[in-house]
Amino acid sequence: MTENRADEQTLVQARTDALIAELAGQAGGGDAAEWSFASVLWAGVALSLTASLLVVGLTAGPRPNLSSLALEWAVQFKAAAMASTVGAGIALTRAAAIPGTQLRPFICLSPAVVLILCGVIFDRSGLSVTGVRFQSGPFCVGVVLLASSPPLALLLRVMTKRGTPTQPAAAGAAVGLLAGSLGALAYVVACVNDAAGFVAVWYGGAILLVAALGAALGRKILAW
């Protein structure tokens, strides 16, 4: 029995040696990565934000008097909060694409979380967390979800083609967080609800939904 097993092992290992010879024969071939993952990701982010702005423009339309309100604290706070979430999403997506890199979600997200919390604590506007109308919150979530769809599709494709995710669900969640943040950043140009609490609850909720969707899709699409 022992001899048979040893023979079997030799045979199986010979197949591995043959595989190694075949793989070595392909040296110098394969897709040469002209652009690094980071460069492709940045290009993807730029394209995605453009697509999200288009979706927001076609669905909700820009806020009245946006140009005059752009310097108001409320609009700047929303833009800064969502931009910092985008930054966290980019950092996490880059880490998820590279095997052996630790994902540090708390560290990456803490600037955005601190900024939003400070906004909520120091907001003296008295505006409602539910927004100017009853349906403001759900409308915000709906538009952000729509605006996040092109980024989610594009960035998942970038991850599939150029990344090497070794935790597919976590990678999908990172991409979802980034896509949701881009959708939310685009929505700032349309949003008429200026309460910091509104941003924390409804923008935050929409981003988390897209992150969860990304995780579910990532588990299937990003496995290789």
Partner: protein, 188 residues
């Protein structure tokens, strides 16, 4: 720095220039390392060593297909470790799913597993009982529940206070043990 980091990352840089020999040497060294890890894991997890080499080959193919995604501004060993770990976990899950599927008989098949048309086999009932007594206590309960009392896996799981999956795996292992004991018994 680990000497493998230096040798292996140099081999991958040379591979990009079409250098075959150093790349082949890297793949052989790497395969040896992966083989040791996989065999050790399989021993710990009670998986068949016959499947280990398939996993080694999967890891080699994975590293080969994604080699251009490694950039030489990053250390190579953590990259390789993460890819190996990912493929190993994937393989272990797949092998366990396959093992469970092999246990996944219909209720009719479970009920008739110990039924015999050959009357001569009835005299072996005492032998089987003696063999079952030699199993670990947990496995004895499962075999008696399914094979003697005629419970379905679901009923046995409820009765014994364990999951249905655990019942199936324990029964599969018990059958292998009983078969091995029976062979020794007959040979003697």
């Amino acid at each position: 720095m680990d000497s493998r980091e230096i040798r292996w990352s140099q081999a991958l840089r040379l591979e990009r220039q079409g250098e075959r020999e150093s790349y082949e040497s890297f793949l052989k060294d790497f395969a040896d390392s992966v083989r040791r890890i996989v065999k050790m894991r399989f021993r710990l997890l009670n998986l068949s060593p016959a499947d280990a080499e398939d996993v080694v080959q999967e890891v080699l193919i994975a590293v080969h297909s994604k080699r251009r995604h490694w950039t030489d501004d990053r250390p190579l060993l953590p990259w390789l470790n993460a890819v190996t770990r990912y493929k190993l976990i994937d393989a272990v899950r797949r092998l366990r799913r396959d093992a469970l599927r092999r246990c996944d008989l219909t209720d009719y098949e479970w009920a008739n597993l110990f039924a015999a048309d050959d009357p001569a086999l009835h005299r072996d009932a005492c032998d089987v009982d003696r063999l079952i007594d030699q199993l670990p206590t947990g496995q004895q309960s499962v075999v008696r529940a399914l094979g003697v009392d005629g419970d379905t896996p679901k009923e046995a799981a409820v009765r014994l206070g364990i999951s249905e999956g655990a019942v199936r795996v324990a029964f599969h292992r018990s059958l292998k043990r009983l078969a091995a004991m029976r062979r020794r018994f007959v040979d003697d």
